[in-house]
């Protein structure tokens, strides 16, 4: 079997369509882009932040696998380095055992392309990709998950992962309709020892796009984070473009000086496998110096509350942001959002003594807005 990995070009689009057809016929739910140009972060000569697509092609004709590789500059102990993110690896091996080796080929190709590479999210511990990267010697750890219930009625009526038996559904409906849920949430917040920051000197502005003030924030913040994707204004304009109206871009100032920002989502779900018909608030991405992190979380929570969300969720790896979330009344839950770092990247982080909670990673560092 001669299977070669090549960069995806227009000549292979029909072969990808046929590949997707075979996956679907085999019962798989995954599929790959039928355009060779990435819809998110297409390569441009002037950009170091871009997505690249690769295909595993048999006999130069039939597509047997594919993956996406995101290239992005990171600040690591003050030095800027290009780091890779592997996304969407799919092998025909999931429907035809004869191509089981293609999955291994894709992972090894990604590692050889970009030895400093990571995966984020991955779908949880039971997913094949997680087993694969573990087999390749990657370090895998969950990115802590935080949540805060804002509207108990909507939460209790829709949280499918908790409403998983008739008795539980009955109990949760009783709590929702009796007001017991509201009382319970109030009690949790009353007895939790969280401490909200003084918001009187803070001002919040919703901006259409990140501009020069975001560069000032980045310059001040970068030295405080040992490992963090470059979050200057130009990068943020690419990640959260002005044309994408789903993102709420929030600038937080104190005494007239910008101290940080947050990117938020308020999404209405219908029949979501976890959130049912909930209105979900997500703190996608954040930045501030550590002493101001609680102020950013406080403002984000207030803004999402005004957006009438039922629940706010976020994943944050850095100890600073975890502490800020706890201070603002967020609780932790089990996380299936995983960070996997290649051997070379793990070694680099270890050399700089950058353990998990010193890395600033969140859902903004993943494989695209579709998975937020």
């Amino acid at each position: 079997m001669a299977v070669r990995i090549v960069e995806y070009d227009a000549s292979k689009e029909a072969a990808v369509t046929a590949f997707n057809g075979r996956l679907k016929a085999g019962g798989a739910t995954q599929g790959f882009s039928e355009s060779h140009v990435p819809a998110w972060l297409p390569p441009r000569p002037d950009r170091t932040l871009f997505m690249q697509y690769f295909l595993a092609v048999e006999d130069d004709a039939t597509v047997r696998g594919c993956y996406a590789l995101k290239h992005q500059d990171f600040s690591i102990s003050g030095r800027t380095r290009s780091i890779g993110l592997i996304a969407l690896p799919i092998s025909e091996g999931i429907v035809n055992r004869g191509y089981a080796a293609v999955g291994a080929q894709l992972i090894m190709h990604a590692i050889r392309q970009k030895p400093l590479i990571y995966g984020l999210g991955l779908g949880g511990e039971s997913e094949a990709i997680t087993h694969m990267v573990r087999a390749a010697g990657w370090r895998v750890a969950p990115v802590p998950f935080f949540f805060r219930v804002i509207r108990p009625f909507g939460f209790l009526r829709n949280i499918r992962s908790l409403r998983n038996s008739p008795l539980r559904r009955l109990l949760m409906d009783a709590l929702a309709f009796s007001g017991g849920g509201w009382l319970g949430i109030k009690a949790i917040h009353l007895f939790s020892r969280f401490r909200l920051p003084d918001g009187r000197s803070l001002s919040v502005e919703i901006v259409d796009e990140f501009s020069a003030w975001a560069d000032e924030v980045w310059t001040r913040c970068a030295p405080h984070y040992g490992y963090c994707a470059v979050r200057d204004a130009a990068t943020l304009r690419i990640l959260y473009p002005a044309g994408d109206s789903r993102f709420i871009r929030m600038k937080i100032s104190e005494a007239g000086c910008p101290i940080g920002w947050a990117v938020l989502l308020a999404t209405d779900f219908t029949h979501h496998k976890h959130f049912g018909g909930m209105r979900l608030g997500t703190i996608v991405d954040v930045l501030a110096i550590p002493k101001d992190a609680d102020k950013v979380v406080f403002c984000a929570e207030r803004l999402l509350r005004m957006q009438k969300v039922d629940l706010i969720v976020t994943n944050q790896s850095h100890a600073t942001w975890q502490a800020a979330l706890r201070q603002c009344g967020f609780l932790t839950g089990p996380s299936t959002f995983l960070l996997a770092t290649s051997r070379k990247l793990t070694d680099l982080l270890n050399e700089s003594n950058l353990t998990g909670d010193r890395l600033h990673l969140n859902r903004g560092d993943g494989d695209g807005p579709i998975n937020l």
Partner: protein
């Protein structure tokens, strides 16, 4: 080479040294899936001090093919 490959297959798949013939392939071992293939490749690279190219990885589809590929990398039979 046979002895060292047999040791890897024994450890990974529980295959006896005698059963580790050149014809042995994923068709004969249910557990030889994508994850185990990657583990096998990493084990071979570590044991023999070689590095396979991504395109070679998919060609390691039997014990005989593994031996041939290792020989191409200068490992003595």
């Amino acid at each position: 080479m046979q002895e060292r490959i047999g040791k890897i297959f024994s450890g990974l798949f529980g295959v006896s040294r005698e059963a580790c013939t050149d014809a042995l392939s994923p068709k004969d071992i249910e557990a030889w899936n994508s994850v185990y293939h990657l583990t096998l490749v990493m084990s071979l690279e570590e044991e023999f001090g070689v590095q396979f190219s991504p395109d070679e990885i998919v060609e390691l589809d039997s014990v005989g093919a593994i031996k041939a590929k290792l020989a191409q990398h200068g490992v003595a039979r």
